[in-house]
């Protein structure tokens, strides 16, 4: 029994989303969860956050879609997904058989699209909605929603108006002022924040003298970006009062604890799933040892301990 196993010491409640452990999976790095069942027991993962879902199916970007960089990787998968109908008909029923909360990461090109998607997903088996605002806003010349406070707020409002589920807004780190973005999302009614999404980067193939990625630029993730992610969680945690799901380069329990100390109430394992597909489950053992070693009663006690008093 999970309860016995973790003693409830790791349980968290993110704006009504109850998680047995404070570890979820970063969208796009864990498929729909089912792909990892040979390696871990999904019921011991705090929540499964699935690949970004759009209204219609998308084929994603052409050409090479991933490449390793120093302690990180770039990807330009570009929201390939089978679309919301397929997800609801085929994937969700499979996930429902498993006793684990499901967070659906959604993406769109207009606030209306986000709203429609939220409404469609306001169904049993979906436990929370995570809004990916790092997508181009087609109405505003393709500038990402996530780099403009007004656009971000518009998306959050559209989603909130269409769902009764907890809404998590996932912030993009490619901004001058992450706190401004966080506050905009909070004012628009988000129930929680998750950060960070990927940093924009690129790599050039010096022999072909062309960008390596088919889409030229891609999202940088992995341990390379962790210092930026921890910094942003630390900055945002000081200014908002909604819970934060921290992510960016978590490779083990120690890295996860950094995020809690910086003010996160839960964390997500991303790129590290590719290195160790068991991590989203096993990381909890290390966190429990930490709590023991430092004599904390539960994970709640360490949230934000490194913040200025």
């Amino acid at each position: 029994m999970v309860k016995a196993l973790y003693d409830n010491r790791l349980a968290v409640d993110i704006a009504g989303l109850k998680m047995k452990t404070p570890v979820t999976t970063a969208s796009g790095t864990f498929g729909f969860g089912l792909e990892f069942q040979d390696f871990l027991d999904l019921e011991k993962v705090g929540a499964v956050t699935v690949k970004g879902t759009t209204l219609e199916p998308r084929a994603g970007n052409k050409g090479q879609r991933a490449v390793e960089t120093p302690s990180g990787m770039l990807n330009c998968v570009g929201l390939e997904n089978p679309g919301s109908d397929y997800f609801i008909e085929h994937t969700l029923p499979e996930l429902k058989k498993i006793d684990v909360p499901v967070i659906v990461n959604i993406a769109g090109s207009t606030p209306e699209e986000y709203g429609e998607l939220a409404k469609k997903l306001d169904i049993e088996g979906v436990h929370a909605i995570e809004i990916n605002i790092s997508c181009p806003n087609v109405k505003h010349g393709g500038i990402a929603f996530g780099t403009c406070p007004e656009s971000a707020a518009e998306v959050v409002r559209a989603v909130k108006a269409n769902t009764g589920k907890p809404v998590i807004t996932k912030l993009s780190p490619n901004v001058t002022d992450i706190v401004e973005m966080a506050l905009a999302a909070q004012e628009a009614g988000t129930d929680a924040l998750s950060l960070i999404n990927t940093l924009i980067g690129m790599k050039i193939d010096i022999d072909r003298r062309k960008p390596v990625l088919g889409n030229v630029m891609g999202g940088l993730s992995g341990p390379a970006v962790r210092p930026v992610a921890v910094r942003m969680v630390y900055q945002v945690a000081q200014k908002v009062n909604v819970p934060i799901i921290g992510m960016g380069g978590i490779m083990n329990a120690e890295d996860a604890i950094e995020f809690f100390l910086a003010g996160a109430s839960a964390v997500a394992v991303g790129t590290a799933n590719f290195c160790d597909p068991r991590l989203a489950e096993t990381i909890c053992q290390g966190m429990l040892s930490y709590l023991d070693r430092h004599e904390f009663k539960n994970i709640q006690e360490i949230i934000g301990l490194a913040l200025p008093k």
Partner: protein
């Protein structure tokens, strides 16, 4: 059903096949017992954060009884350089078996390979034994054709082309392929090698109406069907090379 496992496999030997190609043997019984020809494994060469990702390598052979998994790889970048430094006794984390392998129904198969694409064909050829197997292999010069020694005991006939004519026929595998297909009576082609080679073979095979299986190579981050780094366009649907492939029937793949 097959189960993917993650194991700390023990290196039990490493052999130099050419200046930059190595064969490495692991003790990995859980994988060796399950792996089918055409499947691959995902190897972690570093416990630090650089290199970060695992590297996909085709299963070149297995000995299910002894629990031995054999890989053949070219030393090309960071990870394969580290792998080449591995010593007997070292432990290396391997995930496998991954992907789905070749359809093995052929009665008279023709294997076609080039470069490291020949690695998975070793296990495939072995699998057809003692039925007669023929292989057509293309290389740049005769130096690359250390593969001959490997396939000698496994194949009834070895057809060779080299770009410079230093061994076998001069040119690419296309120099011999039409003739072979005309006379050979093959009921299936299995091709693994550089993309241009595979595309050309698929075209010729179509002309001669011989069914053809291809083994695709795409940059892979997860190898588990989760990240969509490796996807390509199939007929009426998207395909993931790491789980739907790496082996496909040529006509399944529309865009690669």
């Amino acid at each position: 059903m097959l189960t993917k496992v993650i194991v700390d496999a023990k290196v039990i030997g490493q052999k130099m096949l050419s200046q930059d190609v190595r064969q490495i043997d692991f003790l990995a019984p859980e994988i060796a017992r399950q792996a089918l020809p055409g499947q691959f494994v995902n190897v972690q060469t570093s416990t630090h954060t650089a290199p970060l990702l695992r590297r996909p390598l085709g299963v070149a052979n297995v000995d299910p009884e002894k629990g031995v998994l054999t890989l053949i790889y070219r030393i090309i970048g960071e990870a394969t350089h580290i792998l080449a430094d591995a010593c007997t006794g070292d432990r290396i984390s391997i995930i496998g078996p991954l992907g789905h392998g070749f359809d093995l129904q052929a009665k008279k198969p023709l294997l076609i390979g080039g470069g490291l694409g020949l690695a998975p064909l070793v296990y495939l050829a072995k699998n057809f034994c003692p039925n007669p197997v023929e292989i057509l292999m293309g290389g740049r010069t005769k130096k690359e054709l250390f593969w001959m020694d490997i396939f000698e005991d496994l194949c009834e006939a070895i057809h060779i082309t080299t770009d410079d004519g230093s061994l076998g026929a001069e040119g690419t595998v296309l120099a011999l392929l039409p003739e072979l297909l005309q006379k050979g009576g093959y009921d299936c082609i299995y091709v693994c090698g550089p993309e241009p080679m595979m595309k050309a073979v698929v075209e010729v095979a179509a002309k001669f109406e011989v069914p053809c299986q291809i083994s695709l190579e795409k940059y892979m981050a997860c190898g588990l069907g989760a990240c969509l780094s490796c996807s390509c366009g199939g007929v009426h649907k998207r395909l993931k090379v790491c789980t739907d492939g790496p082996v496909f029937w040529a006509q399944e793949v529309k865009e690669w």
